[in-house]
């Protein structure tokens, strides 16, 4: 299959109010709050690439973008234990009608971060390999422009690379429909390990820290 471009516009939303369950000895608390990731594929009309100056439409200044087809995504902390690959439960639902921004508010969430992912997606059997870079709003340039434009907001805001060294993030993963499908999981595991061996020397694929892929709120608030 031919490689496809990756163009993902992501909003990361967190709850307005954090819920602090009363800690009682002998009682295991199962209530957890998750950050919500809302994603859509940005179109070329939303993007303006005059490298090094890249601009994109942001939901902050274009609320109509919320009417697009967005996918809501929750991710659990990756499974614990001694593993050769990372497995993570991800819950997804696509919203096809209505504006996603008020919807988030009704859910009790507020937007925290907005970022754009650009890159390429390759397919190897069932494995998806992504080479991506993350763009975030360039607030300095934006504020300077606002001053020049007498506070009239531009249609597209200036972006900058999150990682200014320009390196790409390489991710190889397999989507499994059900977390309980042990056969599919182990098959995906072997396929990924094979790929790791195949790409050794070209890309040294390694497992990331489990804590860094945790999409829950509780662990975030513990961190300074």
């Amino acid at each position: 299959m031919a490689p496809l471009p990756v163009r993902v516009h992501t909003l990361l939303a967190m709850p307005y109010l954090k819920y602090y369950p009363k800690v009682e000895p002998g009682k295991v608390n199962q209530i957890e709050m998750c950050k919500i990731r809302v994603q859509r594929e940005w179109t070329l009309a939303d993007w303006e690439d005059h490298t090094p100056q890249i601009r994109a439409r942001s939901v902050v200044h274009n609320e109509r973008l919320g009417n697009d087809v967005w996918t809501i995504q929750l991710s659990d902390i990756p499974l614990a234990g001694k593993r050769s690959t990372t497995s993570q439960a991800i819950y997804e639902s696509t919203i096809t009608s209505g504006n996603v921004l008020p919807y988030l508010t009704v859910l009790g969430y507020k937007m925290e971060t907005e970022f754009w992912v650009q890159g390429h997606r390759f397919f190897h059997n069932r494995i998806i390999i992504e080479l991506t870079r993350i763009f975030v709003a360039n607030t300095e340039t934006f504020q300077r422009e606002m001053g020049e434009r007498e506070n009239k907001t531009p249609e597209k805001i200036p972006l900058q690379l999150l990682d200014r060294s320009g390196q790409f993030l390489v991710r190889a993963y397999v989507n499994v429909a059900k977390m309980t499908d042990v056969d599919a999981l182990s098959r995906a595991n072997t396929e990924l390990l094979l790929l790791q061996a195949e790409l050794a020397g070209l890309f040294d694929l390694a497992m990331p820290d489990r804590m860094c892929m945790d999409g829950r709120v509780a662990t975030v608030q513990e961190k300074p």
Partner: protein, 260 residues
Amino acid sequence: MSSILQRALGNNRHNNSNGSSMNNLKDTTTLASNHVDVALIPVEPLESLRTRLSQLTQSLAKLLDSLNSPSNNPNPADPTQPSRLPHFVSLQNQYNVINNQLVSIVQSLEAHQSVLLTHDAFPLPKFPTTKEQNLVTTLLRKKTVPEVVDWVNESMQLVDEQIRSNPASGNVTSLNDKFVDWCVQSMTEERDNYEFHGFQTMAELRDINNGASDNDVDMTKEEDEKAKRKEEELKKLAMSVNELLKFIYQGVDPRVLNQA
């Protein structure tokens, strides 16, 4: 290339004559280049499939035989009478055997999935193998066709005779050799134009070469240091995978953390 195809076809002919549908699976070969690397042929998966498939055809043929057997006919005098089924115990046994063989084929297919998916089988499934058997054998022939051998011998003789009758015409062959040399040389040149090695572009390679030939050593040194400094700066800026993932999943901006 033709040699592998010939080999695979040879196997077919030796091992079964009625399994034309299976040829397609067995004739899997690698089409790498004119020069055949025998080590690239996935012999092991093909062989394991071949034995299993030939077992299956044998059992199927046996089942068909027992169904068509004249001993099942209640009225041997009238062959148009529908024949009776064999005893159910024997049917069930054969069914079990075939079932097991199918399972084993599926397992073998699954185990060698990646190899089989990335290789082409000749002749292709659509090719009418039985109808065009002569054509297939001709196409997959390893040896030269007798006609061609005759042609080659004829022209060799012709050249020999010419040289013998007129020694001066030996120049023709040397001219020919020159032409062959030129062909080979231009072919390798053309190939080099389209074969790429390493991770640098032509412009970068040119820069490197220029840098090396530059007499002004101080300049290159300075440039080197500049490049090194730039690289180090970029390295300092580079974020780890974990930092990037933390941003994606938790929105924790590594730039803010680094400042603090």
